[in-house]
Every structure is written in structure tokens, then in C-alpha cells.
Amino acid sequence: MKRETAAELSGVGFAYEKEEPVLQDVHLRVGRGEWVAIVGASGCGKSTLVRLLNALLRPQSGTVSVFGEELTEHNAPLVRSRIGMVFQNPDNQFIGETVEEDMAFGLEGLGLAREEMERRIASYSDRLDISAFLPRHPGELSGGQKQRCAVAACLAMEPEIVVFDEATSMQDERSRLELLTVIRGMKDHGDYTILSVTHDVDEMLAADRIVALKEGTICADRTPDEFFADPGLLRSCGIEPPFRMELARQLSALGLFGAAGVYGNTAEAGRFGGGSEADQRRGTRS
């Protein structure tokens, strides 16, 4: 089952300063409708990688293409309209004085007619359950609410690829889980290709693929259960295995239940409850 390519990096290299390359010879292909988590210790180039995708940065070597079209100076604005981004700090991505105006800001840039803007604002604020916040100033909202509004503002532009750049890392536990539900919903919705740069284990587990970066190169590209089955890899990426998984591993080490059985099942039941369904759906479509 080979999906249409949403984004592709081939042989990409990037450096802010010549002597210190941030990315080197990166090859990555993301299929339409896929959810790819990009992980790695801080400073490994994760955020740089996604910024290359929508031409916020330009690679020094190699090519970046989005929906088969190579990124150039000329088509950058057009490509950006197909890629939405949600950043870490919701405060610094709010441009409007109210949630409604902030949503409108992006839409104005798309040159939409007023009626269409109204329709989209109504529809996406309803979908993310933020209709009540529309007239509010972002300062009056909690971190989680603000981040939901940022997602709404991004989705209202109807992008095909959505990038979450550590979007959950400043959120409290509850908001983090809430946002994760939102991303899961987007995945189930099926229209979005999702890239999430993250330190969050739950976010990684929910993805289709985990791409790990180390010192500017991709050191692993695996499914979450393969990824989490490799303690050495986890350690090198600065990831602590989640408690549940660790417990299952310890239990099997103590000889409770067949070693492979419990471990494998844990990862699977933890993740594939809804995932396999979505996989099937995707299969029939493509």
C-alpha cells in the first residue's frame, strides 16, 4: 500500500552557521494521511526539519518537495497555504486581539470573501469547541484553551499538512491530553497529514511512524511498537519509556507471562485499538 506523497525531503542539509550543520543528508518521505512523530533530544534539529517543509527556512543542499512540487522562492507562499503550523507557546502565535480576529487574520491573507470567512470561523470554532471563546482576549484563556484556539485558527485555513511543533510541551497534564484528543480526531477525520515534533510519549505512541533524529541525521524510522521495543534507542533519544510499558517489561522480566507476549501486547493494545481501524479505512481509500 503506497500512499501518495505529501512531503518529501531528499538529501537535505542545513546549517545556521557553516561550521555547525544542523541537518545532514536527511531523506524522509511522508505519505498523505500519515501521522509522523519527529523525536530526538533537544537541539537535534527537529524544529529545523519542519521549518524547512514550509519554506520558513531554505535548505543549503538537497530538495524539499510538497505534494510533488519542489519548494522554490516562488511557490513558497502557495505551499504555505497548504501547510499549517501550531507552535509551542500559544501566546506568541496569537496575532488578533480576540480569538475571532486571530482566526480571521490567516483567512484574510488567503483573500477569502467575508461570507466564507464567517462560515469557516463558525465551522472550525464549533469543531474545536471554542465558539464561546470567540469574542475573548487570549489573556483570559487558559493555556489549553489558547492552544485549541491556535489549532482552530490553523485548521480554518484548511491546510492539508498540519505540523505540531512541540505544541503540547508547555501545557498542563489535562490540556496536553485534551490536545492529544484533538490531534487523534484530526487523524481519524482522515484529511490531514500530521507531523508532530514532540517529547511527549503519548503523542509518539499515537503516531503511525516515529522518526528519530540524532545529531542532524535520521537514526530511526519505525512504528511506535518497534521504536519503544528498543531501550537503547529510547535512551539515545532522551526518552523515558512510559510507566505502563516499563511495568510490563519488568513483569515479563520476572517471568510473569511470556516475555515477548506481554511486552508486544502492551504496546499493541495501548495503541491499535482505534489505529487499526483507521489503517483499514486509509487502505480502502488509497
Binding site: A41, S42, L205, G238, E240, F243, N265, A269
Partner: protein
Amino acid sequence: MRGWIKRRAAGKRNSGKRLDGRNPVGGPPESVPCPQIAAGRSETVIELTDADYIYQAGSPFAAAALYGVNIRIRRGTLVGIAGGTGSGKSTLLQLLNGLLLPAGGSVRVLDHMLVPGLQKPKLNALRRRVGLSFQFPEQHLFEDTVEKDLMFGPLNFGMTREQAQAQALEALHAMKLDDSLLKRHPLTLSGGQMRKAAIASVLAAGPEVLMLDEPTATLDSAARRELVLLLARLCREEGRTILVVTHRIEELLEVADEWIVMHEGRAVFQGDADELGDRADELDQWGVAVPEPLKCWAEWTARLPQLAALPLPRTAQEMARRIAEAVHQSANRSALEAEAGNPGGLEASVCATN
């Protein structure tokens, strides 16, 4: 493991006294003359009695006021403070070193008494002994070298340059940072180093009580764990009292002696991890996510009722060991294993809520 059991025993010894919040252990607070005399693990170093903080215009943190907070914290304990956004947990920390003054009730920290209507007291004597690290490391780093930043506190508290330098070095080592960082510009450090340097800048003044506001936010999970273990070491080996505001109970569960949960300006819970486990249902309505270890333990306890008598294991390893023991003891072990074979049984419970 042994260390953990010892800690627990210490916790249990005091829990009876601790829980009836209003009954002071060591007599009325004014009568505590000097912390050195009344030393010992059970000495109360922080005591809030019906403390209120009324929202004051101009304070950007006081999104939530505090109402009738009663808290007592013993010397040398590591206390986790959990709560949702705006629950008042950051406000609470600022009340403890006089950055904010209570509007009602009283706040006693070490031998300092803060009560409403106090003429703006000289607070440096208190602040030297009670350090507060804010959420963003950049807020602590404003000099042009790390060393100067580390010496800022000690110098303000009246130490000589040599003393301050020695203190800075010691704090740097306590946070497991390399000497070579001293001459670096703080803003050239990596995220994790910056966070540790910011904590070291507070530690350099040699506080007896160290308070940290969400020290692990935005760090990756391995760096978070490393930091938590460092804090635990400061508490266990150097006897400091450590208060950590967090929204992730899970990351501190292994090391915290005690928990305080804040909700809408009230301290709705104070107790150890076991007591927290008993009230897991309420956590959600307090705006706090139930930590995974509590969920797992509850699921296993439901399967193996004999586990209920045991204290909550703090690590996955310990929990696995307890479970294994219980399973081996269990007479109906074979039955259990049969159940484990089917996906709806034991195995599913290991991971049901992921």
C-alpha cells in the same frame, strides 16, 4: 529499594500528626526559637494557617487568590505541589518567601512570621534561607557570565566575593554542571543546562528551603528524570526541604514524600502518595490528571485484592516485584494465568487506558 522503604516508614510515622492540619506539632509557631534547636525530621518548617491571598491588581501571577490554606511542611521532605492552571500553586510559593504577603491568616516559614498588615518587613533574612526558582530559566539569568549570575544572590545576601565564588562553584557542582560553564554567557547554554544553571543560581545562596515552579516543563523526559533525581539528592543528602510545583504528578511520584493538591485557590489535599491513590477519583475534578502509576496500581489491586494492603510502589520495578510476589502467593495462580491468555483479561488491564 531499601531507601524507598525507609522513606515511607518516616512518612508513616508522622502522617497521623500531619493530617489534622490545624493542630500544630511544636506548639504555637511564635515559640519556635531557632530551627537548629528544634532540629529533627519532624520539625515543621513551613506552616500556613487559614492563609488567604486576595488578588491584587498589578500581580500578573495572582490569577487565583488563595483561600483559607492550611499546610504544614516538615524539614527535609520533598513535597510535590500539583494543580491545574490558575489553581494558585505559583501564588502559594510566592507567599512563602514574602514576595506576596498574606491578606488573612498567617504564614510561618522557619522562624519568620508573615501576617497581614505587616509593615513592609525586611525580608532578605528570610529569602536567603528560602530560595525560589521561577518557571523560565531566562528570568534568572541576566548577567553576562554564568558565574556572575550564580554570585548575584550570595552577594546580595552579604557574602564576600570569595565566599560567593565558592558558593557559586558548589551550586554548579550540586546541579552536576561542568566548571567550564562558569565563564560562558548564560544564553549560550542549551535548554537543559540553562534550567540547571537557573536552579544553581538559587541554590548558591545556600537556602534551607528550595522552591521550584515547574522546573521540568519543556524538558525531554530523560532530562526531566535526571533533574528530579538531582532534586531528590539535594533533599536526601543535604537535608534541604524542597517544594516542587508540577503538573505532572507522575514524574515526582517516585521521590516525593508528600503531596499537596491545589484547586481554585484552596489546598484540597495534603498527604502521601498512598493517600493520593485513595482519592484518585477526585483528582480529575481538581483539574489534575491521574498519574499512570496510580492507575496501574489500581487496576492490579482490583485483580489481586491482597495488593491493597501494601503501600503504593513508586517505581515500575518495585511495582512489578510486588505484583509478582502476590501472583506467586496467590492460590489461584493457574486460574489467573488462564485469564491472562485472553485479551480481555490481565494483560489488557496492563495497558487498558493508554
